[in-house]
Symmetry: C2
Subunit: 386 residues, 2 copies
């Protein structure tokens, strides 16, 4: 396998883009990434794009071809990959394999979703297609309900409290307030979270990531060539993906994600690193409970200690292991197909020292963790600066 | 790049599977392929699946995870890829890169679509998402209309006749009649085609491939290990993909597909072969005109000569270059995501000498050609027996 590095990154602000269509968003992010790489578009020889539900959200499939066309990249191959909310990381992983295999050299990887053109009820139904449509959604279990079941189980097993969940939201909004690409650039208080309207007990509005539009993009190159493009190539030293039962009722546990554990184990083996050597992580906090499970399942904290660690500030910007410096899905927003690629963009900015007010000190190794559905897919990447 | 071979294949019959769901179809094809490879499922270490529009057709996204679960393959990674009607070939291509890169060893590649649970009008609308939703479908151009425009242009430029188009359908039904997996196992006459109801002039019902359910699957292995699994490994000696403008109005020509030409050129270069060395080809005959354009753009016949060549029988089972021995999309059926993988299954059967009544004599090298939408994506694979 050839080693692979990120040589350019770009994204749109995440949020409600009433004035922009799906096509514009991905072109904006793509052009920024290609410019950031300092190359002209005709050097790119393949692309991959993560999108979860463009068919239902905007009536358009065949997204790879659409993007090749609108980015002026014809006739290069661009392929869409989908793994629900992990679609972006899967695109990154396919891009990595395309370069690692020697099939392609300069590969553009995008993630995009345009979600705000439909109403919340319709979008909830569409997102339900990330779980088991026949055995969960059809019976009324939308995603807040599914994660609420996991939250209740986590509270029952480990004494996790609503304050601990709220502490995730408070921290991520604090980080997001320093990120000009974030949907919510505003700090919130513990009271705001705890007093917000219940969506599916114990999860309240402020425990949930929002519905968002946005796109993110990275440019990959063989590591050996990367330094001819940039002084600060970011190597992807591990890429691991795992699956678990799509429906909650078939899982071994409900207080953690087995797919996270399996993918993390593989990723750490591939990178020859341990959780202690990671300087920061972007994890999948679609709901506050998801971040608590993630930091435990990734090995940053012992099982059951994710809640207390968060409440004690260990996951803040200057804590033991800064989690979600970007603001996470919670504050940055969650255009589902874009999220995994945005995590790679943030990791690159952090490792280059370009993360402005939210810069993690001495960041040399970062990790991203992206979950599809309620945990049936998990993708972990590890990034390293020179 | 490591060399890659197919060591097992399997498929469901294509047709209207009222009694089977999406999940059952893919499990049936997958189990057949894994059994055909003579391995147990726990040897498989990754998977890719092509599906075009499961979100709109059955309300389910996150198909990779669903399949990992229902095939009992957790926790291995399975990823869905989508490129409209070329989704299956794209899955094959990702599987190939996963093995070629050294990231995975034994990889299962599936294609599946369940289309007959909705009405024809709704399915036409969904398939329209393979073209340009904003500039074609929204204005009323469904796929028969789009291909009819190309057919008219081809007739205008080269004198192609309705009889020549019909000859494609007659030939493919003749082949399909010898394929127990085909949706239509019945020969038809030239009169049947010419007298059938006009869908979009000059295309009639019998110029069009049907709406179908079905799944197909192959198992890939590193070529060096392939002979330990099977006496007849089939090497994939080329995989090439190209893109073109998604909408017809932005293309350079309407009497051929540029993406086919670009992908074919790359594939022949990669395999160090010329069109003359190919013993048979499975090409994308979603409409009869599509096969005529394909056999020209792939280099089997000079531009404009595809129609006369077909009428003269040069593309029949014992012709110069047998085209669509399986019966093609026309007679075998076209469950869109499954088609590209079915082409690989047919190529394998032909190269192993297992194609029963439709066996091409002395078949050592085969080619498959899979188109997404009206030609915005094209994927060409070349297969070789030992």
């Amino acid at each position: 396998m050839r080693r692979v590095a990120i040589i350019g990154v770009g994204m749109t602000p995440f949020g409600e883009h009433w004035e922009q269509g799906f096509r514009n968003l991905v072109v904006e992010a793509g052009v920024r990434a290609i410019e950031d790489a300092g190359i002209s578009g005709d050097r790119i020889d393949a692309g991959f794009v993560g999108t979860m539900a463009s068919g239902r959200l905007i009536g358009q499939e065949h997204i790879g071809a659409l993007i090749a066309d609108y980015m002026g990249l014809n006739p290069i191959p661009i392929t869409r990959v989908e793994g629900a909310c992990a679609s972006g990381s899967l695109a990154l992983r396919q891009g990595l394999m395309a370069v690692a295999s020697g099939m392609h050299d300069l590969v553009v990887v995008g993630g995009v979703e345009k979600m705000t053109d439909l109403g919340v009820t319709e979008v909830s139904d569409i997102l339900g297609g990330a779980g088991d449509q026949e055995w969960e959604l059809f019976l009324g279990a939308t995603f807040p309900a599914i994660y609420a079941l996991m939250a209740n189980r986590h509270m029952y097993e480990f004494g996790t409290t609503e304050e601990m969940l709220a502490a995730v939201a408070v921290k991520n909004h604090k980080h997001g307030a320093k990120n000009k690409y974030a949907q919510f650039q505003k700090e919130i208080s513990m009271e705001t979270v705890l007093e917000s309207k219940v969506v599916a007990s114990p999860l309240k509005v402020f425990d949930c990531s929002p519905i968002s539009d946005g796109a993110a993009c990275v440019v990959l190159a063989p590591f050996e060539q990367a330094q001819s493009f940039t002084k600060k190539p970011i190597e992807i030293v591990a890429s691991a993906q795992a699956s678990d039962a799509i429906a909650l009722h078939s899982r071994e546990t409900h207080s953690g994600l087995k797919a996270t554990k399996v993918a993390a184990k593989k990723a750490f083996e591939m990178a020859k690193l341990s959780p202690k050597e990671i300087n920061f992580a972007e994890v999948h906090d679609c709901f506050t409970i998801a971040e608590i499970m993630a930091i435990e399942d990734l090995g940053f904290f012992p099982k059951g200690q994710g809640g207390p660690a968060t409440l004690e500030g260990k996951t803040g910007l200057s804590g033991e292991i800064p989690i979600n410096p970007s603001g996470g899905l919670k504050a940055c927003g969650h255009p589902v197909g874009a999220t995994g690629v945005k995590q790679a963009v943030e990791a690159t900015w952090q490792l280059r020292g370009q993360a402005e007010g939210r810069q993690v000190k001495d960041a040399h190794i970062g990790l991203s963790h992206n979950v599809g559905g309620s945990g049936a897919t998990c993708v972990v990447h590890i990034y390293k600066s020179l």
